[in-house]
């Protein structure tokens, strides 16, 4: 697969990158070489082979834990509000002069 500058422009648009003309030329050549190498995979017959997106057996944590919220990203004042229902947690850092203050918040929807 040979990648043209036009292809590069299309992909750069999808990727939200603004490339210089020199970068477009460079990527056209390098991506062509990498994709040509990747065509090696076509030597293998993969009909009926399940794709692996992940090596661990995964399950939906929310479904399994029946409404128990995730552990908060940031611990509040020892509160883990909303063990049932949805919680939104976070923190913001505010700087005033030289001092900094971290404000943590925890919103619960029950």
């Amino acid at each position: 697969m040979s990648i043209s500058v036009k292809d590069v422009e299309h992909v750069a648009n999808l990727a939200r990158l603004a490339l210089t003309e020199a970068e477009k030329e460079q990527f056209a050549g390098q991506l062509s070489a990498i994709l040509k190498y990747a065509e090696k995979l076509n030597e293998l017959n993969t009909d009926g082979i399940e794709p692996t997106s992940h090596v661990l057996p995964l399950y939906n944590v929310n479904a399994r834990r029946r409404g128990k919220a995730f552990a908060p990203a940031c611990e509040g004042n020892g509160q883990r509000a909303g063990r049932r229902g949805r919680t939104v947690q976070g923190a913001v850092r505010v700087g005033i002069g030289k001092s900094q203050l971290t404000i943590r918040f925890c919103l619960a929807k029950t």
Partner: protein, 483 residues
Amino acid sequence: MSLLNQRLREVHHLLSRKELSVTELVDASFKRIAETEERIGAFLTLDEEGARNTARQLDEGSAEGAGLLYGLPVGIKDNIVTEGLRTTCASKFLANYNPIYDATVVTKLKEARTVTVGKLNMDEFAMGGSNENSAFHTTRNPWDTERVPGGSSGGSAAAVAAGQVYFALGSDTGGSIRQPAAYCGVVGLKPTYGLVSRFGLVAFASSLDQIGPITKNVEDAAFALQAIAGHDERDSTSANVEIPDYAAALTGEVKGMRIGVPKEYLGKGIDPKVKERVLEALKTFESLGAVWEEISLPHTEYAVATYYLLASSEASSNLARFDGVRYGVRADNPENLLDLYRRSRSEGFGNEVKRRIMLGTYALSSGYYDAYYKKAQQVRTLIKRDFDQAFEKYDLIIGPTAPTTAFRIGEQVNDPLTMYLNDICTIPVSLAGVPAISIPCGLADGLPVGLQIIGKPFDEASVLRAAHAFESHTDHHKLRPAL
């Protein structure tokens, strides 16, 4: 001998009896950094004030019940977030990013009462195997400062090899702990995918990323892993498995262990001197009563292509969050929202990151998804089956960590494909999600060679046991670069 090169049990003995203060140990670390950092450049951020404060607090408090890691000066790879301590991922994008929380591994190290000395250099967003992709500077290999330390955790491996910190944390997506450990002559452990929480690790390729320790010897790796392993509710891919006592596994006993040696790891493209060291190591295992046989992992030659399609695809998605709105760089005077996204990303990301975002976006784009992304996921299944089948018969798989020793700075920088092929022995392991360690197995032309020991999923204990047995009967790990 520097305190930082002394055995952990000896240092711990002194620290826990307060015959050595944490401050003295931290002083030794900063002294060594002052002596060597100009030549090595392992760090992106040093936190001398924070480290000294922590050391003072530890010295003022009781050392009672102190674990083995108590008081040790450690370095953290700069893609692992540290509250209030700049975390850049070696990217201009995050040049001024001060995280508001600690990664789980950092919290766990704090609980173990280690002292964070600073943040270590890497390839930007962990993309690369040489540290040349850092937006700030290239770390140099302590064994030969004209050469790369490897990557992406090059700063972590170099800092440990140079004796700047007691141990360091790195992250491994396709070999980023093991390859730099091999190039720098230290021990690097990539745990099974899911064993160590990824919460607070800035994502590169989420189905492959894993945090692990880089240490001077296998025993330290066991202790460090013990501290950071375990289930974490904050990481939905964290495995809920029982964590064994890794140090207890270091019995020195490998008699009867069955080792498979993939012929693909010793074939074309492997430096003959590297191969020689690996074969000598296998003789050592033989003399200890283990048995080895040549095996085949037939899909090895497809692993690099598979990896670059999958990892780049995941990266192109993960790095979409760097849009000029939420983090870091924001372009001046944008014309509109799209212009803001495009220009912020183009100014913030370096060349390799852009290249991988482009490759990943292409592989996921309409019309190419099945041909590239899905195909690569199917080949990943075949690669994983190679390992599953081998582990039905063998306890461990052993080979080199990297096909060559550390290459010269600038040697491969304009040839991404050649650079990617350096990962041929580490990438299949990452795709299969199994654990592996790189340990020193001698020198080739004065540069360290890494031996890779690969284990069954969640069987870090056997990997560590074999690595420790080898280390106990050889002196390779005691070699230090003349700095």
